[in-house]
């Protein structure tokens, strides 16, 4: 899972608010899509699969504190729309445990929902092309590809954040002079408390900050390249482990209960009077 392990108060407010807004819109849309089918089917399935992901995350596959996530598998079982809701639930539950910031729940949910949807598309698509006997390998490959893509998505989000709270112009601490710049140089309304990713004039900043030798330097940028290097170095080990576990489980399910993977959520014949969960 490419969970955005970025704390609160680091990314610009506009970015995480946009994440929340986009997630809210997707969740709303997903719930509209799902209410055209029986909620008594989708609600328990989402609940159980979300719980499964959370249980998997609390187990240690290898006793080295690496935990498996099963988000790709969850996506295969749920499909993209139910996956959106499940992603939101999982990320919210984790944030409440301090695992990932509460402000970045929106962004995290987008990443996880993408993971679930991609996983669903790649495994289902791959299963049509490859023989069912190799379903485990398809799932493993799909997992690596999905996680690589969503990790890139995370790097992209961080890059969007730009200078953010580290920016001197937004009032961050100057590590060299140990002084904080006043973000209200342009008046209270110009930047205010919602500052983030905005760049004050470097010349103004130089003028305001007495003795600030570094103010004349180019504004500090988030070293996205370095961040990406760290993430892409540590990431593949996680992708590999996740792929191995997902592939093993999907292969096993493909042998004992293939309808689970190919039949979708409609596992039981619809009974009259069930339409739309109405009485």
């Amino acid at each position: 899972m490419s969970h955005l392990h970025i704390p609160d108060g680091v990314l610009p407010v506009w970015l995480w608010l946009a994440g929340w807004a986009l997630t809210a819109a997707l969740v709303w849309l997903a719930s509209r899509k799902l209410t055209t089918t029986d909620a008594r089917r989708s609600v328990p399935l989402i609940g159980v699969v979300s719980a499964l992901v959370l249980v998997a995350m609390s187990s240690e596959i290898v006793p080295l504190a690496y935990h498996i996530n099963l988000t790709v598998l969850a996506g295969v079982l749920l499909g993209p729309w139910a996956g959106v809701i499940s992603a939101f639930i999982v990320v919210l539950a984790l944030a409440l445990l301090g695992h990932g910031g509460i402000t970045v729940v929106g962004l995290n949910a987008l990443v996880i929902a993408t993971e679930m949807a991609l996983g669903w598309a790649l495994v289902r698509g791959g299963a049509r092309v490859i023989r069912r006997a190799k379903l485990g390998r398809v799932a493993a490959a799909a997992t690596v590809l999905t996680l690589a893509l969503t990790t890139t998505m995370v790097v992209g989000i961080v890059a969007l954040g730009g200078t953010a709270a580290m920016s001197r112009e937004t009032g961050a601490l100057d590590p060299e002079t140990l002084q904080f710049n006043n973000p209200f140089t342009g008046g209270v309304l110009s930047i205010g408390l919602l500052a983030g990713g905005e760049h004050a004039d470097a010349a103004d900043a130089a003028g305001e900050t007495a003795g600030s030798a570094g103010a004349a330097d180019a504004e500090p940028t988030l070293a996205v390249g370095r961040f990406a290097a760290v993430v892409y170095t540590l990431g593949p080990l996680g992708w590999l482990l996740e792929a191995l576990v997902t592939g093993a489980i999907v292969g096993y399910i493909g042998r004992v209960r293939p309808s689970l993977l190919f039949g979708g959520a409609d596992w039981r014949p619809r009974l009259p009077g069930d339409e739309h969960g109405r009485r």
Binding site: P7, V55, S58, L234, A248, Y252
Partner: protein, 271 residues
């Protein structure tokens, strides 16, 4: 990350904070998170974190379980700060932000049953989301117990111990596969139950009333004070004075630890 430990504390604990209304605690947590977002001073952040730990100690919350959860994000925050190539002070700020926000959340969930927290979410989300949240909570315990049984069975039958990481990994994977099948069947049975019991949308949670209004006020007051502090120190050029709240926070931590320990000693003496 053992969710059952959290749940046990929230549902069976009896501190003053447990008796406060969920809405107040949610509001206070929200104010702390706002403080985290606003502040750019590591000393201010540290003061808030110290005060939270001190309050937890004073209220005799299970710090031994809470702190590892609250400190866990520090690892990733450090990696992020390192990768973002900032200096040590900014790194400290980022790490402290992560820990402080996590502390606020952890204090919330260790003293408030999840459904009460979810009830607040239910009010602003579509019905299907709120209901799925509650069913997730309830399914979590069924699956966690089942997984524990399956893992134990697989390990016993495969003769695996934690010192054999590869075999252990294979055993856990097998248990997860079994759990997946069980989970899917569980969702089908849930469908049966919902149908039988007349589910028509809207799993409701009875609101929990506060039995300690003073604590409600104190929690919100603390959150507001922290936010004001962050705003003041961000808006005004007071870089030289942030050591004062930092010191106050450290003192609050010390006081909380002492009061909490004294109370525990008194209770043991009474027994």
């Amino acid at each position: 990350m053992d969710i059952t430990v959290v749940d046990r504390s929230a549902t069976l604990g009896d501190s003053l904070l447990h008796r406060a209304a969920p809405a107040s605690k949610l509001a206070a947590s929200g104010l702390i998170v706002a403080t985290v977002v606003v502040t750019s001073d590591p000393l201010i952040m540290a003061s808030v974190a110290f005060a939270l730990v001190g309050a937890s100690a004073m209220l005799r919350l299970p710090l031994r379980s809470m702190l590892p959860l609250a400190l866990y994000p520090a690892i990733f925050a450090f990696i992020f700060a390192f990768a973002a190539a900032n200096g040590p002070v900014t790194t400290a700020l980022i790490v402290l932000k992560a820990v402080t926000a996590a502390l606020a959340m952890v204090m919330l969930v260790f003293t408030t049953p999840y459904p009460q927290v979810f009830a607040a979410v239910q009010r602003v989300t579509p019905v299907i989301v709120g209901d799925a949240l509650l069913l997730t909570y309830r399914s979590l315990f069924i699956l966690a117990e089942k997984f524990s049984d399956l893992s134990r069975a697989v390990r016993l039958r495969a003769g695996v111990s934690a010192r054999q990481p590869l075999r252990s990994a294979r055993a856990t994977t097998r248990a997860l596969g079994g759990l997946l099948l069980y989970a899917f069947d569980l969702s089908q049975r849930d469908y049966d139950i919902l149908r039988l019991r007349g589910y028509d949308g809207g799993l409701r949670v009875s609101p929990q009333r506060s039995s300690a209004p003073g604590v409600d006020a104190a929690a919100i007051g603390f959150g507001l004070a922290a936010l004001m502090l962050a705003i003041v120190f961000r808006a005004l050029p007071l870089p030289g004075y942030s050591w004062i709240p930092g010191l106050a926070g450290a003192l609050a931590l010390g006081a909380g630890l002492i009061i909490g320990r004294n109370h525990t000693t008194k209770q043991r003496g009474a027994r």
